[in-house]
Amino acid sequence: MATDSLAVQLTGIEKRFPGVIANHDVNLNVRAGTIHAIVGENGAGKSTLMKTLYGMHQPEAGTISVFGEHKVFRSPSDAIDAGIGMVHQHFMLADNFTVLENIILGYEPIKGGRVQYDQARLKLQDIMAQSGTHVDLDAPVSDLGVGQRQRVEILKVLFRGARILILDEPTAVLVPQEVDELFSNLHRLVADGATIIFISHKLDEVLTVSDDITVIRDGTTVAEVKPDGVTRSKLAELMVGSELPSPHGRASEVGSAVRLSVTGITVAGLGEKHALEDVTFEIHEGEVLGIAGVEGNGQFELCETIIGLTKPIEGSIVMNGDNITHASPHHRLMSGLSYIPFDRHREGLLLDAPLWENTLLGRDGDPQFLKGPFINAAAAKADSREVIERFDVRTPSELVPAYALSGGNQQKLLVGRELSSHPNVLIAAHPTRGVDIGAQAAIWEKLRAARDAGLAVLLISADLEEVIGLSDRILVMFDGHINAHLTPAEATPELLGTYMTGGVQEVAS
């Protein structure tokens, strides 16, 4: 294997979108037969760069060489022809097709107008044997878990003859065990002569798996380092220009009063299976209860049930001593419940509306924002300015529409709105998902301060570092029920990962 020859060389790449320069002066050298990580914060320009390499758009300046040959990619099919394949962060699979059908879709071997399934099957079995992956080719994709779907995506790319694989945040959706499996597959592929470009912002993984690391900051490549020549904190510094924030630490004590008590909640699912099965927990004053779990294991239904948007078929919810099992969402919100929803665009914001209407949403029952039956716009705007100020939302004013803000600032606004109604129970679902590190630190800080002031928090997150760091107690949700109780001291990502994939906790007491 020629380690010194370059599989991909990008020189002086510049990509502009109207009003923004997404990439400028980007230089990237990927040695053949290596795993090359590209790290950077959300919004640093990693995905833009990879789209350039995959031919999804054309750069304004700069050159692309593949195995020493100068290339111009007009479309992804040009890139595929050059042996480049991309495994997207969001899988692009047809659920009701089998694995085999999905893999050959768009690249079917055809003879005499007929699809040569057997030929494809043989070729795939070959590929699977070589790369050490295994997926049941005849299983419908709808039956597969996330990790297996990702393997299908990788096989799809290999089937098209890719020798250079781009993986866009491949571990974002995986539990730790699946990550390990993915990495061993990647090593097999590399040993077999493939080259892998691995995009991530998870530094531990990057340091474990890669041979070379290129750091992108503010749209340009700022450093190229070797994993053994750099520490985690040094890498973080390169990425953001400062130390990584940490969710750890608390100065206050958990109070004794029970703020929220959920008892035996069962919620009907789409089929015969219940979406939630006998879920029970309590949250005290000044306590953060973390719920870890792979998305789609009942967390959403749990939130909707506590908010009152979904009616449980069994069980009860008591908040501050009031049984609210049958209360309207409005009543619950008015009696001190707040909710940072899963998806800020779908459930949290009025994107076309100005920020001050967004900070008013859900709080319009507060007499300070009313003048008789009318909205007191001046008061609502003043309050909005205060939220913007206190939560450091970067915006020219409270009058701009919400869509004009970056994701991190939208999220800060949302967190600010929810905390400004002075709740005593807060449900925080993925409070820092998709925000940059600066906003993440700010949001953690605000949540901690609110908790210290007595707020009871139900924290739902896929970010295990966040769950372990912020929580006072951790529950793991799997398949609609709670299958483990842990303290943050005993919780490790690996242990959580075991429970998140259905591992059964041994009862100690």
Binding site: V20, I21, P329, Y339, P341, A353, P354, D364, P401
Partner: protein
Amino acid sequence: MSEPIATEPNAPSAEGTSANAVSKLVSLFTGRSQQSALVTLASSLAAVAIALVLAGILLWATGKSPFDAYSKMLDAGLTNDKLLETTQRATPLIVAAVAVAIGFKMNLFNIGVEGQYLMGVFWAAVVGAYIHLPSVLHIGLIFLVAMAAGALWAAVPAILKVKKGVNEVIATIMLNTITLSIIDWAFQEQFRYEIPGQLDVKTKVLPTTAWLPDLVKNRLSSFIIVALVVVLAFWLIVYKSKFGFRLRASGANAVAARTAGISSNSMIVTSMVMSGAIAGLAGMTYLLSTSHAYGPTRPEGYGFNGIAVALLGRNHPAGIIVAGLLWGFLDSVAGPLQIADIPQSIVLVIKAIILLTVVIVNEVVGRRVAKRTADRTAAQLTLPVVAA
């Protein structure tokens, strides 16, 4: 009424939140409304101008001079008589457009205004003829009956939507047809009032206490004042009140509104009922000022033209008044054009092209403005220019 535009540049719109195709269509009509008053005005005027040019080409292609036609329209339309007629014709359209706009603000497409105002006219005519009250009370009661009839009729699709998920577009279209059958049956079988020796078939004529006075005799009904009050109330309720905020929030993002404790089902029912109640008033010029009874000369098309006026007026109070007057003007010059040997159907063509261009121009301008706002916000923050 120009002030409201300036104070409300950032109202949320229904854009981008709806999943199914019909709702997408609705959001296409309701458009984005976060842009400034000036941009809104300019884009609407541009749409009208483009429509006039296109209609001109059409006229030219059929061998008529567009300049001739347009100057005839202006000559005929800008006389005192015709301006009064413009206002008179605009009145029901403005009321109907407000009814439609209430729905649009909640992301509901109430195509049923057509049926709702006919229900209003018919039942108000029936009830009004059999009661005797002092004039103000009599007229007030007739308004209430008309509003109740429209509201009840609009509640049907609302309840179907809330309980059974039936799309309101489909339900209201079908109810329009059903309306005609019900009214025809009730009229023919129950409430036809035969006056011996007269061939006129009508419901019983209203007592004179129920007649609305004219502002200008036989030219302009005082109902225009009621219409303006309706527009003002619309502005206050939808744009300024807490209820209106919730309504617009539900329309802009039903899921987020629900999450914020606003029951979208109750908003759907309330806004449809309000829409129907206002729709019920659209036919009152005809009933109380012109005909004083329900008969085969009943008005037609207020509902559909109301949709057009709401659309052209961007669901905004001031916009609706201006658009209503434009529609009234076009209707009032159709006759004189005919006399000048220019087919009056050109008026219909102009209206149709205006609608299409408005939808297209709204969409194009809306996207541009959204993009520019985002860019400008980023620029104002002087953040590093980096995209994801």
